[in-house]
Symmetry: C2
Subunit: 117 residues, 2 copies
């Protein structure tokens, strides 16, 4: 439980940056080398590599080196963990609205019937 | 676009903390006063209020004061924005897998037919 909380902290922290979200969105389309990832970003290669380190540390991205090229891949399961947490909150919210709707239907007169009190 | 990126940064940053996620999960079940929110948390009231400030700054929570009681409410639309971003990535990932599946079906012989090469 504590481990999952720590993992969620790291994933949400990693997603709290526009550049890192752009890297994630790029890798969702397919693997890419570090220089391919850096090309559309207005920053130095070392800065891109720092962002990649954050993404690798939380497990969102893994990479492997072949010769002089490091290729990065997305790990969709980690993204799914963050999605699951948010979706669970949204579902709980919708259930609350449903219960509120049921309560109002049971306890309030419809305008057509008029109030009896 | 820039504004939405900034909003997403702040929402993901707010969610990157176990206590703040607990507060969000509590408020999803219904409004609560600051002291009700603080009760199950092992921290001082000022520390809870600091977390609430982060949640209010990104729009996830709003609060109003009546007399001496400040009541907090969730803003589900802001949570939805974060969910939408993650879901868009997951959907793009699934489309990529579908395309890969189509490619393999088109270009690879099935084991039943045997290889012609």
């Amino acid at each position: 439980m504590l481990n999952q909380a720590g993992s969620l902290n790291r994933v949400f922290q990693a997603l709290a940056d526009t550049t890192r979200r752009e890297i994630v969105a790029r890798l969702i389309r397919g693997p890419a080398s570090v220089s391919e990832l850096a090309r559309p970003l207005a920053m130095s290669l070392p800065a891109v590599m720092q962002h990649l380190q954050v993404l690798e540390a939380c497990g969102l991205v893994r990479s492997e080196k072949a010769g002089r090229v490091r290729t990065c891949h997305i790990e969709p399961g980690v993204l799914r963990m963050a999605e699951d947490w948010i979706t669970a909150q949204r579902t709980a919210w919708e259930h609350r609205l449903d219960r509120l709707g049921d309560y109002l239907t049971e306890h309030c007169d419809s305008p057509d019937q008029g109030s009896t009190q």
